[in-house]
Amino acid sequence: MSDYILKMQGITKDFPGVKALDDVTFSVRPGEIHALVGENGAGKSTLMKILSGVYPGGTYSGTIVIDGAQMRFNSTKESEKTGIAIIYQELALVKQLSIVENICLGDEIARGGVIDWDASYKRADEVLKKVGLSVNPTFPISYLGVGEQQLVAIAKALSKNARILVLDEPTAALSEGESAKLLKILRDLRAGGVTCIYISHRLKEVFDIADRITVLRDGKTIATHDTKDLDENKLIALMVGREVANIYPRKTRTPGDVVLEVKDWTVYDPDINKTIADVSFALRRGEILGMAGLIGAGRTELVMSFFHFWGRKSKGKIFLEGKEFDTKDAGATIKAGISLASEDRKRYGLVLDEDICKNISLASLDKISKYSVVNLMDEIRSAERYTKDLKIKTPSIEQKTGNLSGGNQQKVVLGKWLMTMPKVLILDEPTRGIDVGAKVEIYNIINELVDQGVAVIIISSDLSEVLGICDRILVMHEGRFTGELAVKEATQEKIMHYATGGK
C-alpha cells in the first residue's frame, strides 16, 4: 500500500540553540494504529505540535500532506477542521463543566448564540456510545475517573469528525484495567476507519496495539517498521542506539557509610491517582546515585515528597545518619541536611525578580543572621564566594536572576543549596536545557562535592548522563523501583528494559 492519509516530510524545527527535529519523515496509512516511540526529548511531542498547528506554518521547514493535499496549519483550529485531533497527557477538559458541555466545548451547537441543548445531548450520546461509555452526560466531568475522562476526550475528538486521532501517553495515568479498556476502544475505532497515532513509553502496549512503529531519536527518524518485524529488544536498541559522547569526568571512589536511608516509603496523590509505593533505598557518603526512568515514572514526586511537597504519605521512614526524622515541612528536611534542586528552576528554584545575592542566601538566612537581623556583609561575602566557586557568569551579584542564562540560573540554584551545607544533595534534571559547556562545569562541581563527602542523588532522563556520572542506578517504573544496577554492569538497553516495566 502506498497511499498515505498523512505524510510529513523533511520536517525540521529549530529552537534557540537546539535542533529539535532534523529532517523528520513520518507517514501514516489510513485506518492503521501507528505508534511513535522514542526517548524523552527525542522530538515526538514537537512533531505532533507541528501536526496540530501549535507551531504554526512558517516556524518549521518541511511539508505536511494529508490525503494528497499539502496543508499548512496556522492554528490548532485549522488542523481540527482537517480532522486531526490530539489528546494530550494533561487532559484539556474543564473540570467544572458537565460531560456534554465538555464534548461540545469550542464547537457548541447554537442558534443565534443560544445553545440547542437537545441537539447537544444527541451528539454527546452518539459519540459516547462510540467510545463505550454509558454515563449520564449531564454529570460534571469530575465525577468520572481519569480513564473515563480520557474516553470523554476521545469522544469529544470524534464529535469534531476527527479522522486522525493522536494520543499522547494516554495510559500514563491509567490502571491496567482501564488501559486494557482504552486499547479495546482504539481497536474498535480502527475497525470504524479512524486512523490513530499512538505515543507511549509502554512498549508492551505498543506491541499489543500498533500496526506499525516509527522510532525517533535525537530529532531524527530512525526507522519505520511493521510491528511484526520487531521485538522489544530490537526496538529498544533502535531507541537508544546513540554514541555516548565522552563529556563525563569520571572518578573512582569508594563509598563510605550510609547517610540516607529510606524504608517502605509510600505516598499517594488522590487528585491524579498516582502512587509511589514501597520505595526503599540507601545512599552512602561519597556516592552518586542515579534515578533513571521515563517521564512520569514518579522520580520527581518521590523526592518532592521528602519535602512534604507532593502527595500524602501513608507509610515509610526516612533516616539521616541513622536518625529518623519527620518530613513535616520543607524546612525540617532542609534542617536535617537534605537539599533538593528541583527540575523546574524557574518555578521551584529562583525568585526571578530578585538578584543573585538574595537568591543564594534565601535558604540560609538563619546562618548569616543574629537576632534575626541579616548581616548584609556576610551575605555579600557568601554570595560572592559561591558565584566565584561555581563560575557564575555575571557582571555583579546584584544582577536579577531572571536575566541570566539557563546554565547560570542552574548554578545560582546550586549555590543556594550548597550554602545550606547539605549532607545529601538531590539534583532533579540538573542539566536540562543547558548547553554542553555548562553541563561539564556542573558535572565537575558535582564531583567536587562528592569528594568533600556529600552524597548526591541525580534524577535524569538523559540515559547517557546517568551512565556517565552516577556510581549506581535505580530505575523507576510507575512509582516503584524495578531495577538496581551498578554502573559497571549498566547499559542503556538494561535501563530501558526496567524503565518500560520489564522484570
Binding site: 528554584g349 525568585v351 535558604a363 538566612l365 538563619d366 556583609m377
Partner: protein, 375 residues
C-alpha cells in the same frame, strides 16, 4: 550606562511626581499650598494613612490585601475613645486597649488567610463590614468626644521648635553617616558602588530635602508627634523589610511562593505574623486618626482602605507581589494627601476631586508598568 540612568529615574519617578504636584499647587494657590502652616498640616493629615500604608506595603508584597483597614482603624479608635471618655481612664490605658484590639484582629485575619486558606480579599472584606458594625455598636451611633488632653496630643501636639531643630540635625547627621558608612563597607568588599559624583549629589539632595522638611516644621510650631511617629515607623519597617530574616522572607514569598516554600520558609507562619503586626499598625493609625479629630465618629476611616492601597501602589508596590518599598509607599501616601489638600485649598468641587484622584491612580500605575520593561 543609559539603562542605569533610566533605572535611577524610575526609582525617583514618584518623588519627582510629588515635587511636580507641589509646584503646580503652589502656583495655582498663589503660594498658600507651600506655606509652612499648610505643609505642616499636610504632613499631619497624611500621618494616619501613611502609618497604615507602611504595613499594607508588606501585605501586598506577599500577594495579599487588607480591605478592612478603615473599619479596623475606626474600631481601634472607638475602643480607645470609649475607654478614655466613657470609662474615664487615662490615655495609656486607652492606647494599650486599642493596640491589643488591633493585634487580635490581625491574628483573626492571619488565621483565616494563612491557615484556612480563605482569600485575603474575602476575609478582610468580611472584616470591613464586621468592624464597621462594631464601631456603631461601641459608639452607639453617636460621636464620642472630647478626648483627654493626653490622648488628643498624639494627633495634635508638636515637639517644641528648639527640640525639633536638634532632632532634625541629628537625623541629617545620622543619614549622612549611614550613607558614607555603607559605601565604605561596600567598597571594602570591592562591591560595586555608585560613582562618587552621583553618590555625593544624592546625599546633598537628600540633606537639602531633609533640611527643608525640618525647617518647615520648625517655622510652624515644631514637628507634630504624629509625624515623628510616621518617620520612626518608616525607619523601623524599612529596616525590617530589608535586613531581617522575616522581611526578606516576605519578599521571597511574594516573588515566588513555591521556591520560598521549598527553601524551607514556613509561609503560613510568616503570613500569620505579618497580619498580627499589621493589625497592631492599623490600630496605631486609628489612634492617630482619632486623636487628630479629637473624637471617635461612626464614619471615621470610611474609604481609607482605598487611599491606603492607592498610596502603596502609587509608591511602586506591585500587586503581583514581591516588589515594593516602605519609603516609596510613604511618598505615595504623601501624593494622595497632597492631592486632597491642594484641591481643597483651591475649593475644587468634590466631584472633580474624586475623578482626578482616580485618574491619577490609573496614570501612575500605567507609567510604572510601562517603564518596568525587564532588561
Amino acid at each position: 550606562m543609559k539603562t542605569s540612568f533610566v533605572q535611577n529615574i524610575r526609582k525617583y519617578t514618584m518623588l519627582i511626581a510629588l515635587v511636580g504636584i507641589w509646584l503646580i499647587f503652589s502656583v495655582l494657590t498663589e503660594g498658600v499650598f507651600i506655606s509652612p502652616r499648610n505643609l505642616s498640616n499636610l504632613f499631619l493629615q497624611t500621618a494616619a494613612v501613611a502609618i497604615i500604608t507602611i504595613g499594607m506595603t508588606l501585605v501586598i508584597v506577599t500577594r495579599n490585601i487588607d480591605l478592612s483597614v478603615g473599619s479596623v482603624a475606626a474600631f481601634a479608635g472607638a475602643v480607645a475613645a470609649y475607654i478614655n471618655v466613657k470609662m474615664g481612664l487615662p490615655a495609656p490605658a486607652a492606647i494599650v486597649a486599642a493596640l491589643v484590639a488591633g493585634l487580635v484582629i490581625g491574628a483573626w485575619h492571619g488565621f483565616w488567610v494563612a491557615y484556612r486558606l480563605v482569600p485575603a480579599f474575602i476575609v478582610t472584606l468580611a472584616s470591613m463590614m464586621i468592624f464597621r458594625g462594631a464601631v456603631l455598636g461601641i459608639t452607639n451611633g453617636a460621636t464620642i468626644a472630647p478626648l483627654t488632653a493626653g490622648f488628643k496630643g498624639i494627633g495634635q501636639n508638636y515637639i517644641a521648635p528648639y527640640m525639633s531643630i536638634w532632632i532634625g540635625v541629628a537625623a541629617i547627621c545620622l543619614f549622612i553617616f549611614i550613607a558614607i558608612f555603607k559605601r565604605y563597607k561596600r567598597s571594602k568588599f570591592k562591591f560595586s558602588v555608585q560613582k562618587f559624583p552621583v553618590f555625593a549629589l544624592k546625599v546633598v539632595l537628600m540633606t537639602v530635602a531633609m533640611g527643608a522638611f525640618f525647617m518647615i516644621m520648625v517655622q510652624n510650631r515644631g514637628i507634630p508627634y504624629a509625624v515623628i511617629l510616621v518617620m520612626a515607623l518608616a525607619v523601623a519597617f524599612n529596616f525590617m523589610s530589608r535586613q531581617t530574616v522575616f522581611g526578606r522572607q516576605l519578599y521571597a514569598i511574594g516573588g515566588n511562593p513555591d521556591a520560598a516554600s521549598l527553601s524551607g520558609i514556613n509561609i503560613q507562619k510568616k503570613i500569620m505574623m505579618l497580619y498580627v503586626i499589621f493589625g497592631g499598625l492599623t490600630a496605631v493609625g486609628g489612634l492617630v486618626m482619632t486623636a487628630r479629630l479629637n473624637a471617635a465618629t461612626t464614619s471615621a476611616g470610611q474609604g481609607m482602605e482605598l487611599d491606603v492601597i492607592a498610596a502603596a501602589v502609587i509608591g511602586g508596590t506591585s500587586l503581583m507581589g514581591g516588589e515594593g518599598t516602605i519609603w516609596g509607599s510613604v511618598i505615595g501616601a504623601l501624593i494622595m494627601a497632597s492631592l486632597d489638600n491642594g484641591m481643597s485649598l483651591m475649593d475644587t468641587n468634590i466631584t472633580y476631586q474624586y475623578i482626578i484622584k482616580g485618574m491619577i491612580l490609573l496614570l501612575a500605575v500605567w507609567v510604572d508598568i510601562a517603564t518596568r520593561k525587564r532588561t
